[in-house]
């Protein structure tokens, strides 16, 4: 059975592929979905160790997904990293109050994203 390390949810296919490429290159097992609802279902089914969530997705936003994952006992321990196109302070605060462990603002450096993900996973393992 293939274990999923990281679940990536972003409605932009190019960014999804970019993140997946870099994380796979770093040796992680990756799954991708393109909206919030699928992210929630996949997270519950696959139990990845970390979820990369885009904040603005059609339908259910990344913040909503984050809150629901935190409310569910089966998924509340997952690491969550938010991708946001907004740099306003209150958006960042909103992300943390929804329960995110870290956030990266767009445009981001793929290299930096990978090192953040690795650091989060290492911290969780330790």
């Amino acid at each position: 059975v293939a274990v999923t390390d990281v679940l990536i949810a972003d409605d932009d296919a190019d960014i999804r592929d970019l993140v997946a490429f870099k994380l796979e290159q770093a040796g992680l097992a990756v799954r991708t979905v393109n909206d919030g609802l699928a992210a929630l279902e996949e997270a519950r089914a696959e139990r990845p160790r970390l979820v990369v969530l885009d904040v603005s997705m059609p339908g259910m936003s990344g913040l909503d997904v984050c809150r629901m994952l935190r409310a569910d006992p089966g998924t509340q321990g997952m690491l969550i990293l938010m991708l946001t196109a907004r740099v306003q302070e209150r958006d960042v605060e909103g992300g943390f109050s929804a329960g995110a462990d870290d956030y990266v603002t767009k445009p981001f450096s793929p290299r930096e994203l990978v090192s953040r993900v690795q650091a989060m996973l290492a911290r969780a393992r330790a």
Partner: protein, 597 residues
């Protein structure tokens, strides 16, 4: 009011008054003295010629003298005493409580008492009327103040409609606004006792909507004959008048007294039903103008009192009319009530004008607010929409450069570097534009806190130090202690980062950047100076203009958006401060920011 005596009449010389008692006393004393004298003379005569008649003479003289004394006492009592009481009653006339006794025995004195009582009663009534008029005027004045206090048209109308009924003893109050250029006439009315019957806005002129009140679409000239003070008219033409009727009679105020039975109008509009309910009641209509400076304040004496003053035309354009209606058979309107109605109506006109101006201003402010919000929303959307593709461009670019897709030739690397540089420029441009638009619209959270400038400067310097080290530029700081002020730390950090970034960017390898901050009176002065390329003199006054780039910076292809200093100036001026630049081309630049502390 003191009046000069008419010419030819001299003031009467003061005469010493003589009480009637003393006058009569003197008269009777003389009479008795004469009787006694005559008696003594008669006694003397009878002693010499007829001594036998002496006793009779003495008796007659004594009796006559006694009679005279009795008469004197009686006359004095009947005339002097009632006169005295009359006098006392006249003295108390001012209090209006006493009546002079009319039971005097002398007819003339009794008549005088009656006359005095009539005058007293008349004076009493006059005083009551004066008090009533003063009360009415005062109540009208207060109502006018209440009306003018309203900032909304509907509030002023409701206040007038509710207040005019009780004030003028009217059963109905109808207020109309000339609606031709205001998108419909308004009306409101009250029933007996000031209860509101309804209010609303009519349709456009000539476009009577169902159930929306009176439609002002009758031909001009209807009811014109009613537009004269004292003239009579009917309710119907009044209800169906064209807005032109307000101008009827050459712009005079129109007074309409209605006292004739109405003919049946076809399908009367809502307001007409109410007016017809009043039947052939008495109607008074006063027109008001839209002038802010009404003629009421005219100095007394310039306008003689009476109908001429009442019909003075309003100074501005007729803006509407107030109609008050009494039940059939009610008292006609008194001149005082008409004057109070005029005064209150003039106040309503002014109040409505101010309310309309205020409402228009509010509407404009609301529209600007909406526009501003739309602009902010737009900027947020644009920023998001631009950043998403930029993320892909920058991300894939980085992967290519990192060799994630295989090795690169030196030519390919050079080309990718150009793309990377321009991507960074595009990104900076988007960020700066977003910041500027947020500051402009006030949506950038401006949280004023007590900030320590030294700390802010230290952290901003720390942020640019890596870039400065890479560019071979040294940074030194000289910051006084205790420099505090109220500011948004995040925005001030942006100011400092922009200024330090510029200084490092425009300074060649081996150059120096210096930051100093000090208190200068009630201001904090922050200077960022460099030993860089400087700004050409002609360009110095443009550097705070959006998208402006100095000639030498553009020529040397130093990256930049031309928005950095514009952002600095916007933030600084939002904090109540000033920013200035001093530079010499080839030697360096100093930017000085002064902030209140």
């Amino acid at each position: 009011v003191t009046r000069a005596p008419p010419p030819g009449v001299r003031p009467t010389r003061p005469v010493r008054p003589l009480p009637v008692v003393r006058l009569l006393g003197r008269a009777f004393a003389g009479l008795i003295a004469a009787i006694v004298l005559l008696g003594v003379a008669g006694i003397g005569v009878s002693l010499r010629y007829r001594p036998a008649a002496l006793p009779a003479l003495v008796a007659v003289t004594g009796l006559t003298a006694l009679l005279a004394v009795l008469t004197a006492v009686r006359v004095t009592g009947r005339i002097a005493r009632p006169l005295g009481r009359l006098l006392a009653a006249l003295d108390r006339l001012g209090d209006g409580v006493d009546r002079a006794p009319t039971d005097a025995d002398v007819a003339e004195v009794a008549a005088l008492a009656h006359a005095v009582n009539r005058v007293a009663a008349e004076a009493h009534r006059a005083r009551d009327r004066e008090a009533e008029a003063a009360r009415l005027a005062e109540a009208g004045h207060r109502l006018g103040i209440r009306i003018r206090r309203h900032l909304s048209v509907s509030g002023a109308l409701a206040e007038a409609a509710a207040g005019l009924g009780p004030l003028l003893d009217a059963d109905h109050v109808v207020i109309r606004l000339a609606g031709s250029d205001r998108g419909g006439a308004r009306w409101s009315r009250v029933g007996p006792g000031g209860t509101a019957l309804g209010s609303g806005v009519t349709g456009q002129v000539g476009d009577p909507g169902p159930g929306t009140g009176v439609a002002i679409d009758a031909p001009a000239g209807a009811g014109v004959e009613a537009a004269r003070p004292g003239a009579s008219g009917t309710v119907e033409p009044l209800a169906g008048l064209s807005p032109d009727w307000l101008l009827a009679g050459g712009g005079e105020r129109a007074y309409v007294w209605n006292d004739l039975a109405a003919a049946d109008p076809p399908a009367p509009p809502e307001e007409l039903v109410a007016l017809r309910a009043a039947g052939a009641g008495r109607v008074l209509t006063v027109v008001f103008a839209d002038d802010a400076d009404p003629p009421r304040a005219a100095a007394p004496g310039h306008h003689p009192p009476g109908p001429a003053a009442a019909s003075r035309p309003p100074a501005g354009q007729p803006a509407g009319a107030v109609t008050v209606i009494r039940q059939p058979g009610a008292e006609p309107w008194s001149a005082r009530q008409v004057r109070v109605a005029e005064a209150v109506t003039a106040d309503l006109g002014r109040g409505l004008l101010h309310a309309q101006l205020y409402e228009r201003e509010q509407e404009l402010a609301g529209r600007l607010r909406d526009l501003d919000e739309a602009k902010t929303d737009f900027m947020a959307t644009v920023s998001h929409e631009l950043r998403t593709p930029l993320t892909s461009i920058a991300g894939y670019l980085e992967m290519l450069s990192d060799g994630d897709a295989g090795g690169l030739t030196p030519a390919q690397e050079r080309m990718l570097a150009v793309i990377a540089r321009n991507t960074a420029r595009l990104r900076a441009l988007i960020e700066d534009l977003l910041v500027l638009s947020r500051i402009d619209s006030g949506t950038l959270p401006a949280s004023r806190r007590d900030v320590e400038f030294g700390w802010l400067i230290t952290s901003a310097v720390a942020a640019v130090r890596p870039a400065a080290a890479a560019a071979g530029v040294s940074i030194e700081t000289e910051v006084g202690g205790g420099l505090t002020g109220r500011a948004d730390p995040e925005q001030l950090d942006r100011v400092l980062t922009n200024l330090l970034g510029n200084a490092v960017k425009f300074t060649p390898r081996g150059g120096r950047v210096r930051v100093c901050a000090e208190r200068d009176g009630d201001e904090v002065t922050v200077r960022v100076s460099d030993t860089g390329m400087g700004i050409p003199e002609d360009d110095q006054r443009h550097v705070f203009t959006r998208f402006f780039r100095a000639r030498n910076a553009a020529e040397q292809a130093i990256p930049g958006t031309g928005l950095g200093l514009a952002i600095v100036r916007t933030i600084v001026s939002h904090h109540g401060g000033r920013v200035s630049v001093m530079s010499r081309e080839g030697e360096g630049t100093t930017v000085t920011v002064r902030l209140p502390c």
